[in-house]
Amino acid sequence: MSTHDATRRAFLVRAAAGAGAVAGAGLVPGALTQAHEQRPETGAPATTQPHSNVVEHGAFFNDENAATIAAFTERLMPGAPDKPGARDAGVLNYIDLALAGAYADLQDFYRRGLAQLDAYCRKTYHEPFVRLNAARQDEVITALEQGKATGFTWPTAQVFFDTVRTHTMEGMFADPIYGGNKDFAGWRLVGFPGAQAMFTPADLQNRQAFTRAPMIGLQAQGKGPARKA
């Protein structure tokens, strides 16, 4: 019920705003036209952010859970120079908003999944997930994926992993209107041009990456990649 209603609401909002806004940035996968802005892994990323360690949450997650999800999803889709990752795409913001809206029925799933993750990490490594180094975090995620992490009842370790992975991909690649895929980070990563209303016969036969038109999102938003003056 919530899924349907939320998407309906999103549609109405979009319809009112007028669809089909265009934002810049051509598409050259692997050799992005936009300079990749590396954010520091820790520390205050921007003075406008209300939370010091994690950007973009507030609809559902508390600070601690937000930090864990930000770290976890960044390991699933890590950023690198010219390769936007989960943090660049605002995956945390996507999941936070989804759990406050369309996926509200998964709030307890996340709460309990994160509590179990925390307990597992403290038991195995005597530290919470966010304090572990990247290699240790990957060990933990692998244990979840393979169902080998102990102490999980509901959600099971594998189901929790699968769900976070699914939501990470959604946050990377869904239209920016849903709060992730910031500045089309996910689309730039893979070379997807977004909501193009048509492709020409020449486009259909081009053996190269599609770069003829700018990426298109669903909403006018001033959030598109900044055009260089």
Partner: protein, 573 residues
């Protein structure tokens, strides 16, 4: 509580229901259509939004509110399926479908006889309930023709009245004339698929689709946006029932559509006739329609469910079920799949209509010699994106990376980054056989939002015949990927035994009232004023998608009702 009277009530306004509403309305019959979902319009589909339509399944039934449960066998407990692959609005599945529009092969209608003639009766698995259809391809050909021309299907003939035509499917059954519209343009994936297939001696062609390749009947041609299967068409180029037959039905002045309504019972009397239906309105009201003729045309589960829910003292096993066959012989397609990725070129498979873009029919039906292969029947092979949908969420969810690459982390990121625009999937859509123990019934434990027992599927496609066929086909798909020049070719795992797409069966048609539920017109053998139209009546399936055959059957039944039944109600066969 309201009671209305009408000539005909049709439950479900999808592929079959919309055609029946328009045709019976034109014949002067008063028709009321009941539709569980809303009636949307082309303007509702302006959002090219992969999350909403593909990932969150906005045009499908909500699996939590309208659960359908599945178990692999009668000993297992059934659990709700996470995704329901059918429509939930006026126009039904034709709103979101990939619009692949096949005519079945001649031998699809008589695969039992065909198998026995060519390989002997022992070639059919002992537990298989395969029977011939009670009609032939030739009987249905005029109605395939009508469906293609009235709805608008694009394609290239391969067999014009017995003459083979270059560029079409040479294995297709003879057709009286060309398609009304030329084939859709091939994108790169189609071009490389065709080149690879020809190298191997196959006969590739552009898949016939109910998508306009140019302006037709006032609707515009396709713009190749790629937001197609799983989406409503944002310009109305997809020939869905929503933009074809429902406006025709409206224009008759004899049609009334009631949206947001849930039919929960077919009413019958002691004379052995049905008298109408009961339904809940969108406001929760409990209503009755009294009708001379009741036509059931929802997705297949609800046919079986409604017949079982409508039992009375006179029909203790449910309506139309003196044969005991209601709910049996459930079938579904399985998509065996191989991925191909190219280091030396882009494919950009997200462009253009996304489902089963280019096809070959060399390994389908009985188009090849099965002697010694250990299985009968085949599969349609085509090129398509990961989950018949071209966006990056679809690729991330449905494309397993090649062996050695994990599903997450830097290596996975680099895989997606490099190959999202350089991959294609090759799939084999299999002609799975009917078995009597593959069933639909009422789940004793799970109820839907209306409090009705959920339809429960008992099904496992992993039978010896089906497993042998899939293994054989996966080898062919890998060969094809290499012939296409792919740098990397790898298999997709087969997964659990749950039914895939395109479900058939549950109210099978036949020639014998003792062993089938309906006759060739979808008319109940037991109750002549009750019709069931749709793929639930298929006695066997095909490697081909079912919708055009559903539509041809709807035209044939409408023709029989308007020209024969209306004047002289009674058994049509």
């Amino acid at each position: 509580m309201a009671t209305e009277k009408t000539d005909v009530v049709i439950v479900g306004m999808g592929a079959a229901g919309g055609i029946l509403a328009a045709e019976l309305g034109k014949a002067g019959m008063k028709v009321i259509g009941l539709e569980r979902g809303p009636r949307l319009a082309t303007a509702d589909f302006s959002a090219l939004d992969e999350l909403r339509y593909f990932q969150r399944q906005d045009l499908r039934p909500n699996a939590k509110r309208q659960p359908v449960t599945w178990r692999p066998n009668a000993k297992a407990r059934a659990n709700p399926l996470p995704i329901l692959n059918y429509g939930n609005q006026a126009g039904g599945g034709t709103v979101h479908y990939g619009a692949i529009s096949w005519r079945f092969h001649e031998d699809d209608f008589r695969s039992r006889s065909q198998t026995i003639e060519r390989y002997g009766a022992s070639a059919i698995p002992k537990d298989c309930s395969l029977i011939d259809w009670p009609l032939t391809y030739a009987d249905l050909e005029p109605f395939y023709d009508r469906a293609e021309y009235e709805l608008g299907v694009s394609g290239k003939a391969g067999n014009l009245q017995g003459r083979k035509i270059e560029g079409g499917n040479p294995f297709e059954a003879p057709r009286r004339r060309e398609y009304p519209l030329p084939p859709l343009m091939a994108d790169q994936s189609g071009v490389i698929f065709a080149a690879g297939a020809r190298k191997l001696g196959y006969h590739p062609f552009s898949s016939p689709r109910a998508i306009l390749s140019q302006t037709y009947q006032g609707r515009p041609g396709c713009t190749y946006c790629g937001f197609c299967q799983a989406f409503g068409c944002h310009i109305g180029a997809k020939s869905s029932i929503l933009v074809t037959k429902l406006p025709e039905a409206d224009a008759t002045g004899n049609f009334k559509l009631l949206t947001g309504t849930m039919c929960y019972r077919v009413k019958s009397d002691n004379s052995g006739r049905v008298t109408g239906v009961s339904y809940w309105g969108s406001d929760g009201s409990d209503n009755t329609i009294e009708a001379e003729l009741v036509i059931l045309a929802p997705f297949i589960y609800d046919n079986t469910r409604l017949l079982l829910l409508s039992k009375t003292a006179k029909f203790p096993n449910g309506l139309a079920n003196s044969s005991g066959q209601v709910g049996k012989h459930l079938m579904a397609h399985i998509g065996a799949r191989v991925f191909a990725a190219f280091d030396d070129r882009f494919v950009n498979i997200y462009m253009g209509p996304n489902a089963q873009k280019h096809s070959l029919d060399d390994w389908n039906a009985d188009n090849f010699d099965h002697s010694g292969l250990g299985f009968i029947r085949g599969a349609q092979i085509s090129i398509t994106p990961a989950d018949l949908e071209g966006g990056p969420i679809g690729a991330a969810m449905s494309m397993n990376p090649p062996p050695g690459v994990p599903r997450w982390g830097a290596a996975y990121r680099d895989f997606l980054s490099k190959y999202f625009a350089r991959y294609a999937a090759i799939i084999a859509q299999t002609d799975n056989l009917p078995y009597a123990d593959q069933t639909i019934d009422l789940d004793p434990n799970v109820r839907d939002q209306w409090g009705l027992p959920a339809p429960r599927l008992t099904y496992d496609w992993r039978r010896p015949n089906e497993l042998a066929r899939v293994e054989f086909l996966l080898g062919k798909l890998e060969e094809l990927g290499r012939a296409m020049g792919a740098t990397h070719v790898w298999r997709s795992p087969l997964g659990a035994g749950a039914p895939g797409a395109h479900h058939e069966g549950g109210t099978r048609m036949g020639s014998d009232p003792k062993t089938s539920v309906v006759n060739r017109y979808g008319q109940s053998w037991d109750i002549p004023n009750l019709f069931i139209i749709g793929s639930s009546t298929y006695p066997s399936m095909s490697g081909f998608n079912p919708t055009l055959t559903i539509q041809a059957l709807a035209y044939m039944s409408a023709d029989a009702i308007a020209n024969r039944y209306k004047n002289k109600p009674g058994p049509l066969a």
